[in-house]
């Protein structure tokens, strides 16, 4: 493409030239690294969908981080446990799927659903403070997975392997303009490749289906929803537990697709970045996915600047910027958005409020 050449012609202009240099750098590196960015974005987007489903029904879930961590650990450890029973792995051609891997994934998702059920019980039935409930999940997950991992890793066991990435035909990825987007979306493992489907699916479901309408009604005005016959408690339970499926996929992705290992605290705050993506995406799946891609790009740029810094003036400026700034950008942006400086983002009206049925005694 001659676009970068055009941009480089403008590099010499003071200050504005820097902007063009930056644009040129981004145009050069982002398509190249698009599959990596998608991999960074996958757990963020899935966890953000979990947040959207919970909060749209009025339940705040800050325990996504812990839920993901528990799912990551479970998927890995179940793989370790059942692997010997299945003998030598015989990965299928599609995504390198083996039976142990599928069971491991199911286990990760089930554990996440169980934890979400606990969160639902505490915050919906007991009407406990939802922030406290989420905090308990985070502390418990970090503690239990750390504890068990210490014990298990003494034997340094081998996991059940990892899902393989699909390799799209070169003819597709070499297409002009959209080739890199196809590579980004398709050169992925099964969980990552399904993200785009899940994002669109939940978006349609939330805004075009009866259940979605009920979910939003319960999250905005539960009293009114109950008046028209919607079971508020039931809708909330279902949404929180369904959200657990997505948090479980996000966690399992980390330990059986992105890597084939579990490290202590391997979620490393992704559950909270996902909350940030959810806020930035204005509580919609598609918006959250966009925000997750943006945040993943920041994280990727933080690494790229060390590996292949841009040349010239821009390079010396970027070199002086501490790489941690890129890691902090998602959080700073979220605070700026929360502050209402740019693009105000308003949560569902009943978000975080326990619901008490009108006295039915």
């Amino acid at each position: 493409m001659d676009l970068s050449g055009l941009i480089h012609a403008l590099d010499g202009i003071p200050v504005l030239g820097l902007v063009f240099q930056l644009a040129g750098y981004l145009v050069a590196v982002i398509p190249q690294n698009a599959p990596n960015i998608m991999q960074q974005a996958t757990p963020l987007a899935l966890a953000a969908i979990c947040g959207v489903l919970c909060e749209r029904s009025g339940v705040v879930n800050i325990g996504i981080e812990g839920t993901m961590l528990a799912a990551a650990f479970t998927a890995w450890v179940v793989g370790v446990a059942i692997q010997p029973a299945f003998g030598a792995p015989n990965p299928s051609d599609i995504f390198g799927i083996t039976l142990p891997l599928l069971i491991a994934l199911a286990a990760g998702v089930l554990v996440a659903m169980a934890i979400s059920t606990l969160h639902a019980w505490l915050s919906i039935s007991l009407r406990a403070d939802q922030i406290i409930s989420g905090t308990i999940i985070n502390i418990a997950a970090a503690g239990l997975t750390g504890y068990l991992n210490q014990l298990i890793s003494q034997n340094s066991p081998a996991g059940a392997g990892e899902f393989a990435r699909f390799v799209p035909p070169v003819a597709w990825t070499n297409l002009p303009v959209i080739g890199w987007i196809l590579a980004m979306l398709l050169n992925q493992g099964p969980i990552s490749i399904s993200v785009i489907v899940l994002v669109i699916g939940t978006q349609v479901w939330l805004f075009r289906s009866r259940w979605g309408l009920r979910t939003r009604a319960v999250g905005e005005h539960p009293r009114a929803a109950e008046t028209v016959g919607i079971d508020v408690i039931r809708v909330r339970y279902r949404n929180v537990i369904l959200g657990g499926v997505f948090a479980g996929l996000a966690g399992s992705y980390l330990s059986i697709e992105a890597t084939n290992s579990f490290q202590q605290n391997m979620t490393a705050g992704r559950g909270f970045i996902a909350l940030a993506a959810m806020i930035m995406g204005r509580w919609t799946p598609i918006g959250s996915f966009g925000a997750a891609l943006l945040f993943a790009t920041f994280l990727q740029l933080g690494q790229l600047i060390n590996i292949s810094p841009p040349s010239g003036e821009l390079g010396s400026i970027m070199g002086a910027v501490p790489p941690q700034l890129f890691d902090a950008l998602p959080y700073i942006l979220t605070i700026v958005i929360l502050a209402g400086v740019v693009g105000r983002s308003t949560p569902p009206a009943a978000d975080g409020q326990p619901y008490e049925r009108e006295a039915a005694t």
Partner: protein, 396 residues
Amino acid sequence: MSAPVPVAGARPRRSFAARTWSVLAVPLLVVILSLLLGAIVILASELLVARPACSTVTAGTPCGFDWMLWFTAYAALVQGAFGGSDAIIQTLVYTTPLVLGGLAVAFGFKAGLFNIGAQGQFLVGALGAVIVGVALAGAPAPVAIVAATIAGIVAGGLWGFIPGFLKAVSGAHEVVSTIMLNYVAVQLLAALVSGPLKVPKSPSPVTYDVGNAAFPIFLGDTGHIGIILAILAAGLVWWLLFRTTWGFEIRSVGASPDAARYAGMRPKLLTVATMTFSGALAGLAGTSVLLGVSHSMTSSFGTTVGFDSIAVALLARSNPLAVLPAALLFGSMRAGAGLMQINAGIPVELVDVLQATILLFLVASPVLRRLLRLRNVQAGIATAAPGQSLGAGTAP
């Protein structure tokens, strides 16, 4: 909302013992239940570590299934925390930041604010203390200590002011903004410690020592004056909350923002002031660890103090004086965990599991009370403004 309003004097007077029981029953029960559950976790986890049968190994090596492992572990935990004066002093040192952090969170609760950002304020407070401490490392000790401590308090207060200000101005919920600020603090610390604050030729990112700004030791080898500061702070917060107009206003806003506004109080101003003061306390917690224990900062500085503080404040039911024993409980667990790992091979993470189960049982205490037919006891969790909506974005 039609519950009968209790009239003063209408309730029968209860004896001191009955009142003490009503306050302590749930916390005590919860801690005991958690320790029981912890014992079960220990026994269950033995199944994971396949040990050789006892007939096949020489005496002394761990073997078979040890039914008393939970006892060995808890005994080591207690011994590590309270066995001898050194251990006790070490426990106090571990407890100090938990007292200050617990006070920070409890103070926020009293105003109906959930300061989940104690972790970030703790880090930024320590950062403030190390910057001034290193700059004044050669200055006379009293000057250096006071200046570095104030810097830590101010830095933590600033980190608490931001979410308070955002909440007052744009209604941004403090839970979300403090979570974000926690991570900004982590990155800020890493950037400064591996950048401008780094000792130039050091292979790993570490700052200079704070020298004369270090807290003096007055107890044994490690007991620094931060311990006294923490106890004084508990008294100060109690006095502020229960003996000053400001404290009354804070508690009023926490109990009912609308009523407080009708009474002429200014909830927004109080929100900013409360978050700032809460941040300052958490900043002092960070300062106490930096000036009292580590004396310099690495890029991995930072502990679980911020989240432990939430547990402390909840267990203490946000009472500033009850924060002291609650912090001592968690502090002694942290202090004894090392010996538990050495003597019984139980990973220190068991403490986090215990902490989480304590919180879980506290939250579920209504169920406990029903199951155990406990009457006349106070509920486990008493946050000031239950069910405060995250959606209340545009506060009037």
